[in-house]
């Protein structure tokens, strides 16, 4: 691992045009992704995590735009380029080659009327001139990597495959041109537990072997704990906590992250405290003043009398360092108490 990040995101803003005017779905996100590293973007629906993931590869829907910010990518030769400033043709070459997106496979990310092999050949042909037999060999290689039988999968239509197989096909396709960065949107959502397990195992193994970096979007904190080196919690379009997975899960420094972790029932042992976060995420079109989480925040309510603490209503806190490689955007990050006591017997 070198000291320079492969992807450096600075103050990224994403807006969607709506009938009622522009809505900011991502309000200034900054983070670094290092080579070979795995970063999880976690949060509830509507927090902007998928939008941020899409913006990294400029795959936003037509009504989305990035009025501000920078996504700086460092090529293997050390030169850097701002993705947001790339022209169309450059961008086309960049995608798949340098960075690839893996959409939710259980949904409709594959073309239903094309055989898997044709979709894979299309991807290769659009980017590289390769002989038919070489292309075929490459397809076999990547399908082997995700533990699929090429002979069975290649001639199949997507509907003939199970959800887990489709997800693995999408991962295989993303790997076709050996990208250095993978962005995955909810890679295991809507899959069965054992299938989830196999996807996680495949991703871990490939990451070790091929050394790509990845950003994955998920609402499943347990998945983040399993697959991420670092975790970024998002709330109302901002990253509110960022740190090494071990640090974040052992001692979250933002009350929102702490609340999310507490809401996951454990399988092993008994948790002494499982609770949900009251209320729901705010509308991005009408954010409350100050810290957008303050209205749901138990800590803020405890400090303030009759409602959230004063400073929480007055100012939206910036991300600030709370430890080595650990940042939190909370006025009272030093007062976040967290003990996820799980009583286990024998494990």
């Amino acid at each position: 691992m070198t000291d320079e990040p492969v992807l450096a995101v600075r103050d990224l803003v994403v807006e969607y045009r709506t009938a009622a005017g522009p809505v900011r779905a991502v309000r200034g996100a900054s983070f670094d992704l290092y080579e070979g590293e795995s970063l999880a973007l976690v949060g509830e629906s509507g927090c902007g995590k998928t939008t941020l993931g899409l913006a990294l590869l400029r795959l936003l829907p037509r009504l989305g735009s990035t009025p501000h910010g920078e996504v700086r990518y460092r090529r293997a030769d050390g030169s850097t380029v701002d993705l947001l400033a790339m022209r169309k043709e450059e961008l086309r070459r960049f995608r798949w080659h340098e960075a690839a997106m893996v959409f939710q496979g259980a949904m409709n990310a594959l073309n239903p009327v094309l055989r898997v092999q044709d979709q894979m050949y299309d991807t290769i042909r659009a980017h590289r001139s390769m002989s038919a037999s070489d292309a075929r060999r490459r397809c076999h290689e990547v399908l082997d990597m995700v533990r699929l039988e090429p002979r069975r999968v290649m001639p199949s239509y997507p509907h003939e495959l199970s959800g887990g197989m489709r997800q693995r096909v999408l991962i295989a396709m993303a790997l076709l041109l050996s990208p250095r960065v993978l962005v995955l949107d909810e890679p295991t959502t809507a899959l069965d537990i054992l299938t989830q397990r196999s996807i996680v195992d495949v991703l871990q193994e490939l990451r070790r072997e091929l050394g790509f970096a990845m950003v994955f979007v998920t609402h499943d904190l347990a998945l983040a704990a399993e697959l991420a080196d670092r975790v970024a919690t998002m709330y109302a379009g901002r990253i509110v906590e960022l740190g090494d997975a071990r640090d974040v899960f052992a001692g979250p420094r933002h009350p929102y992250t702490a609340g999310l972790i507490r809401a996951v029932p454990p399988v092993v042992g008994d948790a002494t405290e499982i609770s949900s976060i009251p209320g729901g995420p705010p509308s991005l079109a009408a954010l409350p003043p100050g810290c957008p989480f303050s209205v749901r925040c138990g800590l803020s309510a405890e400090i303030g009398d009759d409602g959230p603490a004063e400073v929480c209503v007055q100012a939206d806190p910036e991300l600030a360092r709370v430890g080595t490689r650990h940042e939190s955007a909370c006025h009272y990050s030093d007062r976040v108490e967290f003990a996820r006591e799980v009583i286990t017997d024998g494990v």
């Binding site: 069965d192 399993e226 809401a263 399988v267 092993v268």
Partner: protein
């Protein structure tokens, strides 16, 4: 334990016909559902859990076996008894975005069944009753929610409306099919807490269908779990017992596969290695011989597991498992203490 079951499925099977052959979605399933208690039906897609739920709800008639409600065979031909059964058993669907009529207000959704079954005399009474139901499911102030349309509600709120609708006819049993799987983690737990309260307050029984053993464990703490695999129940017992000392290799694999929100614990779990020989679930059209789990089972016995179809047998008084090798081992050397041994590879 001794109280009479509200409903019993007795050796129920559901074999669907298709052009490519028979699909045995559910085979030989027997379950008892008790008032005020939770039974969690756990399994992956294709395990037959939703088919079983539909049979329990009276939405489908099983191809063989008996469904009893209050001791009476519901498909026995007595129309009054059938209507009573259908009214007493309500179904809450998985997708709150699809299960509510988008052009009906919450009030219209709740008042419909009450009026049809003549439980209320007029609109005012229906309004009042609907408001009470919304309070039961924690949608307050109820009056503001009654005039809303589904698109004005969040997923969690919609699911609460769906639960309130299931309560309109005063059911004795609610069947919840993956009712929380579409919701965010933070909302999921509060919904389950609400259902737990309903079960305690109203004495409603629950059949909770899920693929997530962690949720089953949380919601069904004091109830039972039945684990299904390819149409059959492979393990059945009290939730605590099944989770803390799973016997069937499939249940063990499921438990071991679930990640926890704790990187260190996951690393420890993972070091135990994979518990399955194959990741692929066989097709219902071409089921393996003998025990249908044997091609994936880490501890199968050649010549036995691929030949004999196992049946549920008791390990302890209330815990049953359909795995002869496990049963044999258990009887030869009964465990001294019951410890959590999710990591053990049998």
């Amino acid at each position: 334990m001794a109280s009479d079951p509200l409903m019993s499925l007795e050796s129920v099977s559901q074999i669907f016909g298709s052009r490519r052959g028979e699909i045995p979605a559910v085979r030989d399933v027997s379950l008892d559902l008790t008032a005020g208690k939770v039974l969690c039906l756990v399994g992956e897609s294709g395990s037959g859990k939703t088919t079983t739920a539909r049979i329990a709800a009276g939405l489908d008639r099983p191809t063989s076996g008996t469904v009893r409600f209050g001791g009476q065979d519901v498909w026995g031909g007595d129309r009054g008894a059938f209507r009573e059964f259908r009214r007493s058993v309500q179904y809450v669907h998985q997708d709150p975005y699809a299960s509510l009529n988008p052009i009906r207000t919450v009030f219209a959704t709740l008042a419909g069944p009450m009026r049809r079954h003549k439980l209320v005399a007029n609109r005012d009474e229906a309004w009042q009753k609907a408001a009470e139901l919304l309070e039961r499911v924690d949608l307050t102030p109820a009056d503001t929610f009654l005039t809303k349309y589904p698109h004005q509600l969040s997923g969690g709120q919609r699911q609460r409306v769906a639960v309130a609708r299931a309560l309109t006819l005063g059911p004795k049993l609610i069947i919840a099919d993956e009712s929380t799987s579409m919701l965010d983690v933070s909302i999921r737990i509060s919904l389950l807490a609400m259902l737990t309260r309903l079960s305690a307050d109203l004495g409603v029984g629950f059949l909770f269908i899920t693929h997530d053993l962690a949720l089953a464990k949380y919601f069904g703490r004091d109830g039972d779990i039945a684990v299904m695999y390819l149409g059959r129940i492979v393990e059945h017992g009290p939730t605590r017992g099944v989770i803390s000392s799973p016997r069937h290799p499939y249940t063990r694999a499921l438990l071991a596969a679930i990640p926890e929100p704790d990187p260190e614990l996951n690393a420890r779990k993972r070091s135990a290695g994979s518990l399955l020989r194959s990741m692929d679930t066989p097709s219902l059209l071409r089921l393996p011989t003998g025990c249908t789990f044997h091609p994936r089972c880490p501890s199968w016995v050649a010549g036995e597991c691929d030949v004999t179809v196992p049946t549920l047998d008791a390990v302890t008084a209330d815990h049953q498992v359909a795995c002869p090798p496990v049963l044999r081992q258990e009887r030869a050397e009964p465990p001294v203490t019951v410890l959590a041994e999710q990591d053990g590879t049998a």
